[in-house]
Symmetry: D2
Subunit: 388 residues, 4 copies
């Protein structure tokens, strides 16, 4: 197999998971702008996600958010997804939207609220059993807004207790992915603010607890690819929530704000063995298409991730290692940049055609009439959204 | 008049404007937590604001947000406020919540939307005529999320055109205050992102256009007191939107995150002559009490601002200037810190008692039973909020 | 002329100015690592700069730093440069390295120090007369480290006074470029911390005072291309100090940290008419090659700037404008990204060959033996450096 | 013992370690401004440090930097210190100033350089044996400036190997403190960039490896007190390098930039049991007095730390816990702020007088004539500095 064939082969196996909520309405605290054709049910979200897979070929699964995607029969929902050519993926818990959670969920000073939050998390594992999902993604909005508001350490104790209870409940083929975030919605302390905190908790829990990196959840200036490399070295990287940002957790389309950063991240994934299927890394999108149309926004994001991956795979690792070992700063940098500066779009177009896909997924979807159809069909009912 | 009497006298004249929207529900894109007793009408908001003035004695006016505070008869609303011991203040325009504004208001590429936004701004001046308000506060959510989305320069042209039209409409005793903000809700470009942009536009418009500094709207590391000093030197500081933040536009209670910064800002205000009534600086709060009760949250904020002001007034300016001129780095710093480290609470308690107020506004309000009363009375109807 | 020919023609006219000090030793406060062959004299710096021009064809001038590049006879130095195929460019003033400047130069509380600093600036104009330089670049390290240390406003008065005196001294074809920087070496206030401050001063001075944008001098999250677009619209952009950074003023090779940002900046330059020779924008590098070899570091930087420019020129402005006007968020973004994603290296290699240059400047310089020659020849004497 | 007596008693036991290098010249890459009377030898640095202890009573030890403070006979140096009323403290290793370290020390791609760096670290433990020091502080300037320059993961392997070798060498009563820093002098990756990285390495090494928190080494917006609380909960907080900053690693006097943050940090120290002597936390200063006089700068810093500690000890923990448990956001915040807003200076003045010290250390030192004496005496020789 030539180097080029190896790259193509690796790209063929790529799988990016789509978030069901990216197809619903989203916005900022200032305004949520509704869009025509937005899904009203989990089924409609899955149908839209299936479109993304149909045109890109590398988005075979859909993550659910509970309770946003609550249904009576998850097995049936899984069947429905299969029927559309995709499958159900990660289960995302939501313990930030009940009025009880104003001062926190699993870290709330009130034991009744903590119990309620924990019950929700356990219920999510029940749903995983029904959907056959491997991963439970835990993001906690928990934190405080004012110095003194609550005890930082006591909240860690409560967090550890809840995580242990969920961990106990996991089945043999299930994992929990703990997400960290610097701030928002909490504005003074966040109970899992950085990778170190998530890592320390996961380490104590065991092998089925892994850290998930949301690319928009860091302090300004944080070197994300370093974290990726470090967690891979520690066997503690569970997955990604991809998106991009210029400022805070902007949740823009991945690759839109800093495509070079995305490339560097993907390079470290490849370098650290994280791209191999057996590594079990979950590559997920987590974005808000506040002003752009949802389905094309997801297609563009998947393509951006694919292009960055292709470039990462193109790096001449032998030449790179040689330059690094020689202390050749400019030479080593040049090897990396050579891959980044390559226009991989022709190669990816060809790959698609080999797979029976349209060379240009954006154009193909636009030409399909699907957007017009759902705008016409989905009249009445309540459009899905975050329900803030 | 002794130095101490001068400080007391200056504090007696302090006036901080409250935002009507701080009494309604607010939150983040993840969740708005409702609170019992929250106002349902502009009248109820004003009634709550009057409570803050009743216990602090330095919050005599209330800013309105249009259309959140739209009423049929503004003169009647002004009467109602007067009857409660306060008056109507700044009119805040809102051109970010109509579906038409998804890609901007006055900078929208569509001329129809621009016209609609401008009409709203002009209507706000009509309301100012009715309420007798001096200031129109302009904050634009306008910007773009993606590189290339719109033309940065063309948007400036459109902005300038709209501002000029509003400026033309102002009465002889009316001003427009242009607010800037780094990001949110726009995540790539914001059309008025920094003080320099606001300043440049105001300079061209004329004396009735002034810059307003929202303390939460800056890039990390920005020295806000420098901006205050600079704008005062240029006679272009129109006012403040006070709040505090640890990360982005957190909109926490002013003085809660960095009381030393608030003191430094107030020192520059005093230093630059901005505290004198004739300077016409509008001192306003603009905050979100997402998790703390609204009225006590406003009282605490007013007290925090008052304490910072008292400390700023206590600076021994003669000793400071002498140390500065001598290049005595530590000596000059010590003079400033001496004022900051002073516990001004006893002095302020005494001042309140001299004015017939309770020495402890927080305790007095808590003991008043007002919170319990509104929680019991305000049943039914729709609680005010941002309506995102 | 086809679109492609127009791009090539525009690229042919590109001119990037090199800083003489980039060829000397540089480092951080922790360590300056010396390199073999580093110049010991202004002449040797110019000789090295000429090498960069020799292989890139677009670096025809060298900026001087006074007193680092002080010589007895500037006309002779200019002749020497011409003889090597380059010319002397911008004169950079240095009022931060004399012991007297500990508390500032032109803003120092001590009038004697201010006078000394002003005299240096005026002497720099004398040198401009001798070298035939058009631009005087003014960067002030002035500021304070501690709150209270000096009076913010008084320092602005002193700054304004000095700038006015220098402005008066400028000849009819001379300009002053005022540079801003958020922090370092001052750590509390900086007297020209942002573009707004520089702009306001330049506006008062007149047409010969322009703002210079150093791409490493902003707060985290600042949108630099917005500033570029804004200053161009105001006819107040005088030039650039190009470099790149991940954190603060890292002074890395331009395009190394965020090539997409560099592209966006160059796009706004082109869009705003700043790329036209008659716009008079000075495109300068200002970098530290702390660990990489100096000459190749400059060549790489020039190539990075050239590639970004080529991509910016490739943007299909008609398609872009159409998408923008239509409010097509994804479409407009795609037009911009299409240019960015293009691999322009073959086109630039071809352009070089048409100009009689080697297609690969890095390889050609490496093969030339120049680096080995200067390492062998430049023995003894004192290597040039910042002299901190 | 009353609450007040408990506070006083706790304050009596406070011990802050001074860095020898704070008495030498320091600056930025732009300029080091020398000061009169600056020490030329380790002995003179210790003599100056002893002055700080003499007037504050809570600075009984001095940290050394090797090789800056290399002497022939460390036992003799320890005697000398004892004679002056202080003792030698932490040993700081320096593996960033040899020309060999351009691309790193223990993570250098070249095994020869790694060996050299490790030998230096081991030599530092030898010195600890001689001085009787408990702690070896490890800060590595190691990192890369350009993407691709070196392999992130391989550098972690090399780091782990070196740390293990040093750990092995530690005596039974010795510890190693691993320091992290976001950036500078490395500008792309740093090999120990955050607390998570330091924590993960220390965890693997064992109980004698602990994390040290330098308050100036974080990304903007990082909540340092959270890290302190977390590390204390994990028994992995070894000590502090105190200083303050507005922007990056400004190394200003502790408490100068954000006294409220310092208070919050000290509150978490007290809360987590870290203030108790048996906790073994090393409270050290690490600052640069670039423009202020060195000894007064250290005295002021020690006083700032003392004031913050006094306020932290004054927090009514019972009332705080009650409010926290009740979910009383404003009440809990008010308890904390009540302590912060207290003017503790009279209490501390009284404490000093009880201890036979002058109530005002700054004034007492100024009146002592020591500064004038060293300026007159220390003529000739080479002033100590960082030697960059």
């Amino acid at each position: 197999m030539t180097a080029s064939e190896a790259v193509t082969s690796a790209l063929r196996g790529q799988a990016i998971e789509l978030p069901s909520w990216a197809f619903g309405n989203s916005g900022t605290r200032f305004k949520v702008f509704p869009q025509a054709g937005v899904p009203r049910t989990p089924q409609e979200k899955i149908a839209d996600a299936a479109q993304v897979h149909r045109y890109t070929g590398i988005a075979p699964s859909v993550a659910l958010h509970i309770p946003w995607d609550t249904v009576d029969d998850y097995a049936q929902l899984a069947d429905y997804a299969r029927h559309l050519g995709v499958r159900l993926g990660t289960i995302n818990s939501n313990v930030f939207q009940d009025n009880d959670y104003k001062l926190g969920s699993v870290t709330n000073p009130d034991p009744r609220v903590r119990r309620k939050a924990l019950d929700h998390l356990l219920e999510c594992v029940d749903i995983m059993d029904a959907t056959g999902s491997r991963d439970l993604k835990l993001w906690f909005a928990d934190g405080t807004n004012y110095p003194g508001q609550d005890d930082i350490r006591a909240r860690q104790d409560r967090l550890a207790e809840a995580l242990a209870a969920v961990y106990e409940r996991l089945g043999p083929n299930q994992r929990m992915l703990l997400e960290y975030k610097l701030f928002e919605p909490a504005f003074y302390t966040t109970d899992v603010p950085d990778w170190g905190t998530a890592y320390a908790h996961c380490l104590k829990l065991g092998d089925k607890a892994q850290v998930v990196v949301d690319t928009g959840h860091h302090a300004p200036g944080t070197n994300i690819e370093f974290i990726v490399a470090f967690l891979l070295r520690e066997n503690k990287l569970g997955g990604f929530d991809f998106n991009s940002r210029f400022y805070a957790d902007d949740d823009l389309m991945v690759g839109a704000a800093d495509p070079f950063q995305l490339f560097r991240i993907m390079y470290e994934v490849v370098r650290g063995g994280g791209y191999a299927p057996e590594a079990g890394i979950a590559f997920m999108l987590d974005q808000c298409h506040n002003i752009e149309p949802k389905i094309p926004g997801q297609i563009r994001s998947v393509l951006n991730a694919q292009e960055a991956t292709a470039k990462a795979l193109l790096v001449d690792t032998e030449a790179l290692e040689q330059a690094q070992r020689a202390g050749d700063v400019l030479g080593a940098n040049a090897v990396l940049m050579d891959a980044y500066n390559t226009d991989v779009r022709p190669m990816l177009a060809q790959l698609r055609e080999q797979q029976g896909l349209d060379a240009d997924p954006m154009a193909a979807f636009a030409a399909s009439g699907y957007a017009e159809k759902i705008a016409a069909d989905r009249v009445g009912g309540e459009q899905a959204g975050w329900g803030a």
